[in-house]
Symmetry: C2
Subunit: 159 residues, 2 copies
DNA sequence: GGGTCGTAGATACTGTATATCCACGTTAGA
DNA sequence: TCTAACGTGGATATACAGTATCTACGACCC
């Protein structure tokens, strides 16, 4: 069981967008270079985040990506499921109904006990990720680094 | 992110061994046919469970696999990690230290906030699986099915 | 006591999904 | 109208789940 690396990249980019002054779109090239990520691959995940309604993309010169919602309304789970999909890592194959020892239909009125346990674990995992917002993550970034990033992207004409 | 199907197969086999009368080893061929599973593939997972000390394998005719411990001392997490490995699905690539916006070493004394959240989620997932034993799962198998399985494998000479 | 069968164990191969890259089309600003 | 940005689709390489085959060992039977 392995989580896509795109999830980590997407999370870092979303976090950076949450750090940057609001309203200033960052081009994907800037995002990719900032973290040394493959730009073409990152593009695919930024698209996924945009389709999920987490980011807003604007084309053309001085375009780029920015958060579509306030950072305290975007959870880590939102970002993860936008990129990796909402599917559970465990999908019950209904093994109990196969082979010579197959359970009869009337014995399968309740879901398979194993599947039930796995679903519960997945819910616990999701709840843990849903409890953290991008805003909370920003607060855990070292202040010196945060200040540096704000300065780097703070060419905000409104300022 | 996808969990290996071997995990589900291993869990069902371990559950069946917990249902069967203690001390009667079941050959992997019987296990495979009972659930309609590919025997060669199942062999790999039964080996993993044996290496992890959850099952005990005995070669030769009238050999097979049986639980190495009482069913209430084997958790779902034990079986899962024996087959799928104990590694977390998320492995931090230290993206924060790469690219033009790399964090300085003195800013990385604490682990990456994103990694911390992911580790927490993984722990929640593991705790949820650790809380369930094979014994508890057996109790959730329909009685008619349990009785049928006991009769099928109950050619226990000591009985 | 030696042969034979049935068991687990180890090894090599294949298929599929992920990760990566490239080329083309579309949109908006200067 | 030219440039710089996003959007889409497809081609390629690699890692891992899944498969098949072969070897070694132990109990049973003659």
């Amino acid at each position: 069981m392995k989580l896509s690396e795109g999830v980590e990249q997407g999370l870092h980019c979303a976090l950076l967008l949450a750090e940057a002054p609001a309203g200033v779109p960052l081009p994907r090239r800037v995002l990719a270079e900032h973290y040394g990520l493959p730009e073409a691959y990152l593009a695919k995940h930024l698209q996924a985040l945009t389709r999920a309604g987490l980011l807003r993309a604007t084309p053309g010169p001085s375009g780029g990506f920015r958060l579509a919602r306030p950072a305290d309304e975007i959870t880590v789970l939102d970002v993860l499921e936008a990129i990796d999909g909402p599917a559970s890592p465990f999908v019950c194959q209904e093994i109990r109904q196969q082979g010579t020892g197959a359970a009869r239909p009337e014995e399968c009125t309740r879901p398979c006990a194993i599947a039930t346990v796995m679903v519960g674990a997945h819910q616990a995992w999701r709840e843990s990720l849903r409890a953290v917002t991008l805003d909370q993550l920003v607060k855990r970034v070292p202040q010196t680094l945060r200040k540096r990033n704000r300065a780097k992207f703070g060419s905000d004409p409104a300022a």
